[in-house]
């Protein structure tokens, strides 16, 4: 091909590509929400003289264009791949560890310490216990990318999890622990409380899903290995009421979520303000104030109480202490993730 011909061809091609992207943008419908990025996408901005003059229209327009760009997910995927190729081990807050493990920092989603203090004031010190859920990175330190480490509170639960770190106690692609991880935490806690914990062999075992991709995967769309989701089901019969009867669902396990992207909702239907669990037999009324880590641990607790009331302080905005004391609660368990930020190895 002659030089002149090449030049002409490239000029025309460039123009065609620019317009083709535009036409693609017109043809493709605007999306409200991105499943891929788990966030709402910017929509077409309202045109107004005021907004144009102060520059906010221009900004909003740019956001809209970027968010609704044709095949956005594809472009984002290309960028992620480039960054990994360049050796980056942290993308959008997700740390890419060894053996397919992905990690993230734990943030405090509720003021657990304050809740613990309040509950102790109301119900007495000995009636209130606490489980700090360690960040996956704190327990599985060896799986972290080089030079990075996570803080872990060194209590009985942590030590017990650490002793089982070779087993699949945390998901690779999700920030949660597995039901097995939750079991070990429960085992350590129950022993500490002077209870006789259930044995794994006493429970019904089932593989729920062999291709689970969790929240960490959702953020960066990369995973070396999919997760297996397992169920250890204690043989306890119970009746479950969600949101004081406002939700129609019942039962501890919600099979229908297993087919969706949010498979962890299988346990206790994800996040609800209040869930009440009434056992056929058993004594005592335990209140669990918790975040989503508790969802796969609570089934083990059903073997030890007559009733369990589960409260997620993010979705239940009343004075929890007062509300609970009207309901003859005998014990309180506070279970939330332990705040854990990245730190760096020392030399």
């Amino acid at each position: 091909m002659g030089e002149k011909k090449k030049e002409k061809l490239c000029c025309i091609l460039f123009f065609v590509i620019l317009y083709a992207m535009w036409i693609g943008d017109i043809i493709s419908a605007d999306r409200l929400y991105s499943e891929w990025e788990k966030r709402r996408l910017a929509q077409k901005p309202e045109f107004s003289y005021q907004a144009v003059v102060d520059g906010s229209y221009g900004e909003a327009y740019e956001k809209w264009l970027t968010d609704q760009f044709p095949e956005r997910d594809y472009w984002v995927g290309i960028k992620n791949r480039c960054e990994r190729l360049l050796g980056k081990k942290e993308l959008k807050g997700i740390y890419i560890g060894k053996d397919g493990y992905l990690f993230s920092e734990n943030v405090e989603i509720a003021d657990w310490d304050k809740l613990e203090r309040k509950m102790k004031e109301r119900f007495g010190k000995e009636k209130v216990s606490r489980i700090y859920v360690p960040a996956a990175g704190a327990v599985l330190g060896e799986k972290l990318p080089n030079f990075v480490s996570f803080y872990g509170r060194e209590d009985a639960v942590f030590a017990h999890l650490l002793a089982h770190k070779e087993e699949d106690i945390y998901y690779r692609t999700d920030h949660h622990w597995t039901m097995l991880g939750a079991y070990y935490a429960y085992e350590a806690w129950a022993t500490e409380q002077g209870m006789q914990p259930l044995k794994l062999s006493e429970m019904e075992y089932r593989v729920l899903k062999e291709d689970f991709l969790g929240t960490h995967y959702g953020k960066i769309h990369y995973a070396k290995q999919m997760d297996v989701m397992e169920l250890y089901r204690p043989k306890v019969t119970c009746e479950v009421v969600y949101d004081l009867g406002e939700s129609k669902i019942s039962g501890l396990y919600q099979e229908e979520h297993l087919k969706t992207e949010d498979a962890y909702r299988f346990f206790l239907d994800g996040n609800h303000g209040v869930v009440e669990i009434m056992m056929e037999e058993g004594e005592g009324h335990l209140a669990v104030i918790k975040d989503s880590y508790a969802n796969c641990l609570i089934p083990f607790l059903t073997a030890h109480y007559g009733k369990i009331t589960v409260i997620d302080p993010r979705y239940f905005r009343v004075d929890i202490g007062e509300w609970l004391s009207e309901r003859e609660v005998t014990e309180v368990l506070i279970l939330g993730q332990d705040t854990s930020k990245v730190s760096f190895a020392d030399f």
């Binding site: 030049e7 490239c10 000029c11 992207m21 910017a42 970027t66 960028k79 360049l86 980056k88 020392d346």
Partner: protein, 439 residues
């Protein structure tokens, strides 16, 4: 609007270029002028009046100068010149340094351009432009409006009225634009993330390695950011039929500070040389006066970059180094192996960049101390972590900044790939809170 944005690449530019190519040659300046106003007004509608004022004023000044010179009224000509310089500099001072207003985008560039016009007309180096549209197109020309290069009027005077469009100009322009885009989006913005991360490290946790990583990152970011913008400007101007002068010539290849400044932001250096240094007497009036002139020029160069004290110090720092080089250092450097020259130039430049990058002068000096081991720790886990995540990118940056692989990038398939990747990085930018534009 900035070039490295989807709205520019996918909306403004195709539409503008289509119209520009379709209209007949005599309307092209009008299209360029109006298009540039839209481009400028998009992000900052408020200040468009200021730019138009500057355009009108110096168009009028040019006409008046022409009249004064034709009729031999040299006092009037002098007066008009003085008025033009005073008004332009006052605008610059008022908006850039008084701190009352937000900085109008591009003001440092277009006031310098319009001043070059009136000075050149006064000196008789270029004819008066009687066509307001053509003059408006020169001042507001969007490729160089926001971040240069500073185009002297006489350099484009002919092409303002006679320029040709061709596929070979178009091809060169596209290639140049895409390479500039890649420099900005793929290198500058990404390396900039490292600089941001290092700035967040508390002073007590800094190590020598992290300080060097930070300074290297900033030096590379600044180069790719600025030279990328210049590439895009030169490329687009070429598509429109203008030949702009080069603004960067691999500055990190320099063996001395003198050479560095011949290769970095060339259009600014030449502007100061032509309109300040030489009128002051340049190097013709003895060494002492030359040193004085250098100090004046470099103080002004420093201040031009911003109002912070650090910019003044930064300018004077280079002024002093240049004086030392002219005095004796350059002769020494020529006698020793080239590698020492590179080393000296790089260390001097990076130390200077640090003062430039850090707003508070004291912090900048502390940083320079850290580069030379004041923290007492060579490295720590965090520094190694950052090195492992950014090492390859930095290496690519270093290689690119000295021009290795230049030929490779000119293969059509290669720069098309660069365009493709740049698009991916731009689409994902809404994810990215660190993206910022310095110029």
């Amino acid at each position: 609007m900035v070039f490295s944005s989807l709205i520019f690449i996918c909306r403004f530019f195709p539409v503008f270029l289509t119209i520009y190519l379709l209209v007949s040659a005599r309307y092209r300046n009008l299209v360029l002028f109006l298009g540039s106003l839209v481009f400028y007004a998009w992000g900052e509608p408020v200040y468009i009046g200021l730019m138009l004022f500057s355009t009108f004023l110096d168009y009028g000044n040019g006409r008046l100068l022409g009249y004064a010179k034709r009729t031999g009224r040299m006092h009037l000509a002098k007066g008009v010149l003085l008025e033009s310089v005073v008004v332009n500099l006052s605008l610059l001072c008022l908006f850039k340094y008084a701190g009352v207003f937000l900085l109008p985008v591009g003001i440092s560039f277009y006031t310098f351009q319009t001043m070059s016009y009136t000075i050149d007309v006064y000196r008789g180096e270029t004819p008066v432009q009687t066509d307001f549209i053509a003059f408006g197109a020169y001042v507001s020309m969007f490729p160089q409006l926001i971040a240069g290069p500073i185009v002297k009027y006489k350099d484009v005077a002919t092409e303002l009225t006679h320029r040709t469009l061709s596929f070979s100009n178009g091809y060169y322009g596209i290639e140049r634009f895409v390479i500039g885009l890649g420099k900005k989006v793929l290198l500058a913005n990404q390396i900039g993330l490292l600089w941001e991360e290092i700035q967040k490290i508390p002073a007590c946790e800094m190590t020598t390695l992290s300080a060097w990583l930070g300074s290297l990152a900033f030096a590379l970011q600044l180069y790719f950011d600025f030279s990328g913008y210049s590439d895009m400007a030169i490329g687009m101007a070429r598509m429109l039929g203008f030949h702009l002068k080069e603004n960067f010539d691999y500055p990190y290849r320099a063996r001395s500070i003198t050479e560095f400044w011949r290769r970095w932001h060339i259009s600014l250096g030449q502007w100061f040389r032509e309109y300040v240094y030489i009128p002051l007497g340049g190097n013709r009036k003895g060494l002492l006066l030359q040193f004085r002139n250098l100090l004046i020029v470099w103080a002004l160069t420093g201040i031009w970059h911003g109002k912070g004290m650090n910019f003044l110090v930064w300018g004077l720092y280079f002024g002093v180094l240049l004086i030392l080089e002219k005095w004796f250092l350059l002769r020494w450097l020529q006698r020793i192996p080239a590698v020492w020259g590179h080393l000296y130039a790089m260390v001097a430049v990076i130390a200077g960049m640090t003062v430039f990058a850090i707003d508070r002068l004291g912090d900048g000096l502390v940083w320079i101390g850290m580069l030379f081991g004041s923290t007492g720790r060579w490295y720590d886990g965090r520094a190694l972590w950052l090195l492992s995540g950014y090492g390859l990118l930095l290496l690519l940056g270093v290689i690119g900044s000295v021009g290795v692989g230049k030929k490779f990038c000119r293969y059509p398939l290669v720069w098309m790939m660069v365009f493709f990747l740049s698009m991916a990085y731009l689409v994902d930018a809404s994810y990215n809170p660190f993206l910022y534009f310095r110029f």
